[in-house]
Amino acid sequence: MTAATMPAPPALEPARGLELLRQMLLIRRFEEKSAELYSEGKIRGFLHLYIGEEAIAAGAMPALSAEDGIVATYREHGHALARGVPAQVIMAEMYGKATGCSRGRGGSMHLFDASRKFYGGYAIVGGGLPIAVGLALADQLQHRPGVTACFFGDGAVAEGEFHESLNLAALWKLPVVFLCENNRYAMGTALERHQSQTDIARKAEAYGIPSEAVDGMDVRAVEAATRRAVDAARRGEGPVLLEFRTYRFRAHSMYDAELYRTKEEVAQWKARDPITLFTAQLSESGLLPPEELARLERSVTEEIDQAVAFAEAGAWEPVGDLLRDVHTEAP
């Protein structure tokens, strides 16, 4: 099934619409602030922004419940936020503070939150897929209803671990959904220069599993497709591969000359900004009261300012604790 052949998602009740919009706005503004803080040297290391791809995390997470697990990449701030990890502990993590969600050890690329089954950001491309397969196996063996959602990029599709993981998951009918965020580039390498089969959804055929190509700029299409996939996995029908077609508006990471793509191409995709599109959708359907957008922007800004204040105020881990958590302390 491809996006074209999909039934239109059901009508939207007002509150849900505003939630989705706020979620995307929160991610967008959070990323913009992160970029600022990076330039100020508050955030260091690598910083990969999610700007342009917000509809995926924002649309997919509502399709997952508390018992479900999430595996993400190094471009995962949006996923953590959408999963409900508080902005303040994510920001503190990017500052490297002990108050961060990984106690500062991980930074931007390694966000973790056990209480929300957020199993982390993985920075070895493709490295998270086998982990997701194992989490799904644990749910299956313990007869738990959980489904594991595994996010990864188009570049990861070329890695052997993609192939091995999909085969294993399909073979064992594991409750895992593979969510490919196809933003058309692996760093500076365009899709057609790293995939001989650019139609990623068609790769599912090699594993005998269902797949869909979905408009990753349409938050409702993302949510609807993810629900279908998660429900099927939960019913015990095995894994599903979803290809979300999206675009990264900013550089791969903070420093990047963007020699590999044209301004025109970027402009074309920005014209399909998921936030603009959804805002328009909502107002057209009369679901966006006047002033509402401004109100959302204000509340998002407050949340982020508070997160920054929290991060600033956070303490550093003492150097004496350097070797802490290399191993599990004996109970």
């Binding site: 973790f112 199993y119 397969v133 644990a138 063996l141 091995e164 294993l168």
Partner: protein
């Protein structure tokens, strides 16, 4: 009634599967085939395909799945057929298994046990004869053990399953057929403690796994010349039981390390360096190493034998450290450059 090392590992697996419903075994051919080295023979029939799982040839995916299953509350035992193939999964080991606890600020533990065969001796040539456990012993965040006896083959597996962090168990392929009386009642030493397999006063022979037998043989031969060797079985390669090593060296003032890994960058080098750092002033002679020759292991028997540590070589090196059998080396004796 005699038990083989292979059966001792199997006994440990069976006990683990019986004792804890969270335990399961997965790997290539552990089920229908009964295990490449017949270790898991019969377990599929006894515990069923949910708990004894054959995997495709996908080392990275199934070892990574073991990590994920451990995160998800299981107690997986992953069998990688041999260390040679584990290179395909090393990314999962170094970048995930070893780092997850630390990167998550202590939120997650990875109670995973990985077993694999290691070593040479069956003329399997250059792609099937590696001894890379020394590499694993370099990785912070994991634990590495090498059982050399029947009791340890069974018992260290059970101890490994009590750990909250990843434990890698290396079984030397030449040990599998070895038979003896397995006393499951006997209490074994803690997982990370080295054990003195032979007490002696003249020289300390430090070894582990597949080389323990050769080293004990060498000690017996040396005893005939009146050289009384103490043999330390490391058992744990990470962490190393440094106190036991150092105490023995303080007593004997001489040490030889026997390690089937290639000499340069071997685990033996680490042990030599630690003795240097902490017992330099107790040494009557330089610490020596007996390791594998630096060559991809060749197929023919005579060349394979020549490439690996052998009893005769151990004896020769020890004699080099103790000119005038049993006596102390004169302070200026030349250091053997083996």
């Amino acid at each position: 009634m005699k038990t083989s090392y292979r059966e001792a590992v199997r006994a440990g697996l069976r006990e683990a599967l019986q004792a804890d419903p969270r335990v399961f075994l997965m790997g290539e051919d552990v089920g229908c085939y009964g295990g490449a080295y017949a270790v898991s023979k019969g377990l599929l029939e006894e515990f069923g395909p949910e708990r004894v799982r054959d995997t495709p040839l996908s080392e990275s995916a199934f070892l990574g799945a073991g990590i994920g299953a451990a995160l998800g509350g299981m107690r997986p035992i992953v069998e990688v057929m041999t260390v040679n193939f584990s290179l395909l999964a090393l990314d999962q080991v170094v970048n995930n298994a070893a780092t997850l606890r630390h990167m998550s600020g202590g939120q997650f533990s990875v109670p995973l046990v990985v077993r694999m065969a290691t070593g040479a001796g069956r003329q399997l040539a250059a792609q099937h004869s590696h001894s890379l456990e020394g590499w694993y012993a370099h990785i912070p965040g994991i634990k590495v053990v090498a059982p050399a006896t029947l009791e340890d083959a069974r018992g260290m597996l059970l101890l490994a399953l009590q750990e909250s962090d990843p434990v890698f168990i290396f079984e030397h392929l030449m040990l599998y057929p070895g038979e003896g009386d397995l006393d499951s009642a006997v209490a074994i030493a803690p997982l990370h403690q080295a054990v003195i397999r032979r007490a002696g006063t003249d020289v300390t022979l430090i070894t582990y796994g597949g080389s323990l037998g050769k080293t004990l043989e060498a000690a017996a031969i040396l005893a005939k010349d009146g050289i009384d060797a103490e043999v330390v079985d490391l058992r744990s390669l990470r962490p190393l039981d440094t106190p036991t090593i150092l105490d023995s060296v303080s007593k004997t003032h001489r040490a030889v390390i026997v390690d089937e890994g290639w000499r340069s960058g071997s685990l033996a080098a680490e042990i030599s360096a630690r003795i240097m750092e902490q017992r330099f002033y107790d040494l009557d002679a330089p610490v020596a190493r007996v390791c594998s020759a630096e060559v991809p292991i060749p197929y023919p028997k005579h060349l394979e034998d020549a490439a690996l540590p052998q009893t005769s070589r151990i004896v020769e090196v020890v004699r080099g450290l103790l000119p005038g059998a049993g006596g102390r080396a004169p302070a200026m004796a030349g250091a053997p450059t083996v």
